[in-house]
């Protein structure tokens, strides 16, 4: 298959359709619009459904319906829209339905702006909605990964019967980069737990209600066991020059790419720097960070926020090493040069 120069948002949709996604329900918001717009082009042609909902609240509940019916279903939004979807995501997790939700993060809080930020980390990783649940959270760092991680996201959503969030930002959504698409599309199939209006599935029930405390506790522990299993089986990360690193940077998404330049610049100056890039933000690569804490003297977290993932890094290294933080927000993307300056100022 030839390489395509393509926007991250559009690559994400093509990856979804190749993964067997046949339903998209969404509501317009910048900088995620190309996702809905591409879905409107491709899904009907692929035999699927595209529908622009009346709100994000309706969109996520349509996702609930599509997933209940056994169709690989997705939506996409950005900060303010994600906040509206949190109720529905809680229900989807509670009812153990698979789906993929892309959040193309923008500046917040409130209306904020439409420039890229990474300030929805807590919302995505720690829950967002009510109750003890987690979405699995994947963090692409290129247009290629916008496609690949969305494709993977549908498989993980089905494997765990759980919502998967693709957590990108406005920069990754809007930028064009070369992408090679997967060559083996997934064929849509209806799982046996779905409710599809046939005699075979008549006994099935999709619900998140457990009235008795013991029943609900059992259900919540079952969900928790899934998340524990995901920690063992699905945690993904990239090590970049960490083998001999004394100073380990931690960053995800677009920031991780900038940190690779930082690592190179510091290496030229004789500093043994490396980068740990989490690819799954939930489950978080805690054990790998703990391992690196036995070797590196210092951790340095960079985010496009005032510091959210840094809390998970600190939990992982358990106070054995100092963890410095540098963040930009409001839509500013840090440059390699300014990060290098920060390193010399604080490390």
């Amino acid at each position: 298959m030839p390489k395509q120069l393509i926007k991250g948002n559009e690559a994400l949709v093509k990856g979804a359709v190749l993964a067997g996604c046949r339903a998209f329900y969404g509501y317009p918001i910048t900088p995620a619009n190309e996702i809905a717009e591409s879905a409107a082009v491709y899904l009907p042609q692929a035999g699927g459904v595209f529908l622009q909902a009346e709100s994000e609240v309706a969109a996520i509940n349509m996702v609930y319906g599509g997933a209940s019916a056994g169709v690989r279903t997705m939506t996409a939004s950005s900060g303010p829209g994600m906040s509206l979807m949190c109720e529905g995501i809680s229900y989807i997790a509670g009812a153990e339905l698979p789906c993929v939700i892309a959040n193309i993060m923008r500046g917040g809080p409130g209306l904020g702006n439409i420039a890229p930020e990474q300030s929805d980390y807590f919302q995505a990783v720690k829950g967002g909605g009510h109750g003890c649940y987690h979405a699995l959270v994947l963090a692409p760092a290129s247009a290629q990964e916008m496609c690949d991680l969305t494709f993977l996201g549908f498989d993980l959503a089905d494997k765990y019967r759980n919502p998967v969030i693709v957590l990108a930002d406005g920069c990754l959504g809007q930028m064009m980069e070369p992408v090679e698409f997967p060559t083996t599309p997934r064929a849509p199939r209806t799982p046996d737990w779905a409710v599809d209006g046939t005699a075979a599935t008549r006994p099935n029930l999709i619900s998140s209600i457990y009235l008795q405390p013991d029943d609900l506790e059992k259900h919540v522990l079952k969900l928790d066991a899934k998340y524990k299993r995901a920690h063992i089986e699905e945690t993904r990360w990239e090590n970049y020059r960490t083998d001999d690193a004394e100073l380990v940077f931690v960053g995800y998404g677009i920031v991780a790419r900038i940190l690779k330049s930082v690592v190179e610049k510091l290496r030229v100056q004789g500093i043994r720097a490396g980068l740990l890039r989490p690819i799954t933000l939930y489950p978080f690569p805690t054990l790998e960070l703990r391992r690196l804490a036995g070797q590196a003297h210092q951790f340095f977290v960079v985010e496009m926020s005032t510091g959210q993932m840094v809390e998970d890094v600190r939990l992982a290294v358990e106070g054995r090493r100092s963890v410095e933080f540098y963040g930009r927000c409001g839509g500013n993307i840090p440059t390699a040069e300014e990060i290098v300056e920060e390193v010399f100022a604080h490390v």
Partner: protein
């Protein structure tokens, strides 16, 4: 004493025992005299009589009927408060052959879910909505509903519903009936046997509307709630007949079942092998790219007015760079900036993976108008290259240490026959000034960016005209 005989057994559509209920599996969770029991029975009998049990997906709401799935032996989906129409929409879209029925109370449908029901009805979604209106929140213990009658005391209108505080009773069926799409909307009641029989007729007709594929159908059912109303069941039925029905008139509010055409059937899904064509995956760069050993680090900012082809210029440069085996990225400005009349994009070409697509200190600035030059000139890296669309660079914008070219690119394009190719003239000049890519690579990439055949030839001319512009007589500020 003669033996008592039950002549109307339980509908087949009900479970024999309500196993999901836990204790007391032979009875419902509803209060004595509650309308839900009757409404359930009417719905179950209708499903049986229409022979659709295996096809039914029933959507349980939040409210007293939250446990609908305890009783109905059909496919069941329980949903969030008010969202049944959204969920029903997606269920039906996924499986058009299924018979999708949502069942909602007044708080669920008329208050928190008012947006969802209005839009599902307005889209004409082909499912059936059963709307139980008892003018009160039952499950949460008797708060005001949007349909509560004026003056009625509830736990949240302790002094009676007051129009200045709480507004008027909401006539949902009448509102829905003002929309164009709904096919069948009727208000029925459970106030006596005659009304109950009419309610069943309406439910059956609504289901038949869906079975024929005609579109949205809804039956509003005025229903007694003796417990919260603090009435005995007989008085509660009387209140349905005389209190509720006086405010909410019974009958069909909309009936287009005779003239409505069935909604179009979904297009059959294409074979999996068709996907690459549908997704246009066959279109892209298939050139075997040369390997680059020399250092390339091109950080380009292109800026100008909307309509000057700023984004396309950048995209073409990135496309050609990709074909040439370089690592590339393109990032546009987007949002309100896009609509203010200015436009800019960032392009990177490199022999190493691109770290940030955002170009904060460009080594090439292409400023297609004066505001863009003024905005970005200070950010250009020392030694950088500047192309300005004009005859001379404004004196206060000249920065020592930069290579600055002022060329009226769009006037040059005019001579070629179209101002529109001014951006391609710029690209030609850029390539000749830097030698980063051969012109032929751009020729090859052009059809992927410029879709209309008629422009490609003139674009190729423009590219070459641009490349010829940097002759010694063109003033360069160094």
């Amino acid at each position: 004493m003669s033996e008592l005989k039950c002549i109307h057994g339980k509908a087949d559509c009900f479970y024999e025992h309500y196993e999901r209920k836990g204790e007391a599996q032979h009875q419902t969770h509803y209060c004595p005299g509650c309308g839900h029991g009757i409404a359930h029975k009417l719905l179950a009998e209708s499903i049986d009589e229409l022979g659709i049990r295996d096809r039914v997906i029933l959507v349980s709401p939040v409210g007293c009927s939250v446990f609908l799935y305890y009783y109905f032996d059909v496919g069941n989906v329980q949903v969030a408060h008010g969202r049944a129409p959204a969920v029903a929409t997606a269920l039906k879209r996924a499986h058009p052959e299924a018979i999708v029925i949502s069942y909602q109370g007044d708080g669920d449908l008329a208050a928190i879910g008012s947006a969802e029901i209005l839009h599902a009805a307005n889209r004409g979604e082909n499912y059936t909505s059963i709307f139980i209106n008892n003018a009160i929140y039952g499950m949460t213990g008797g708060q005001m509903a949007p349909t509560t009658l004026m003056g009625n005391r509830t736990t949240t209108t302790p002094f009676g519903r007051n129009v200045f505080n709480d507004g008027y009773p909401l006539h949902v069926s009448e509102v829905i009936a003002t929309l164009e799409a709904p096919v069948y909307v009727e208000r029925a009641a459970l106030g006596n046997i005659k009304q109950i029989l009419q309610a069943k007729k309406a439910i059956k007709k609504a289901l038949e509307t869906q079975m024929k594929g005609l579109g949205f159908s809804m039956v509003e059912i005025l229903s007694p709630c003796p417990t919260i109303w603090k009435m005995d069941p007989v008085d509660a039925q009387k209140h349905v007949r005389e209190g509720l029905a006086a405010v909410y008139p019974l009958g069909a509010k909309r009936d287009r079942t005779r003239e409505a055409e069935p909604r179009p059937a979904p297009v059959p899904a294409p074979a999996l092998e068709e996907l690459p064509r549908i997704l246009k995956l066959d279109k892209g760069s298939d050139t075997p790219a040369p390997v680059h050993h020399e250092t390339v680090d091109f950080r380009v900012k292109v800026a100008g007015f909307g309509g000057q082809g700023v984004l396309l210029l950048g995209q073409l440069l990135a496309e050609a760079g990709m074909d040439y085996g370089l690592e590339v990225s393109w990032l546009p400005s987007y949002g309100p900036e896009m609509r203010s009349g200015t436009s800019n994009c960032h392009v990177r070409l490199s022999n190493k993976p691109v770290d940030s697509p955002f170009v904060s200190s460009p080594n090439v600035l292409i400023a297609l108008n004066e505001p863009s030059l003024r905005k970005f000139i200070a950010t250009v890296e020392p030694g950088g290259l500047v192309f300005y669309n004009g005859t001379t660079i404004p004196a206060d914008c000249i920065r020592p240490g930069l290579r600055m070219h002022a060329i009226p690119f769009f006037s040059v394009a005019d001579e070629l026959g179209s101002t529109k190719v001014g951006n391609i003239v710029v690209l030609g000049a850029l390539l000749s000034a830097t030698g980063v890519l051969p012109l032929e690579v751009v020729d090859h990439a052009l059809p992927r960016v410029v879709k209309a055949e008629k422009w490609i030839e003139i674009d190729r001319l423009a590219l070459r005209r641009g490349a010829s512009l940097l002759s010694p007589e063109v003033p360069v500020h160094v």
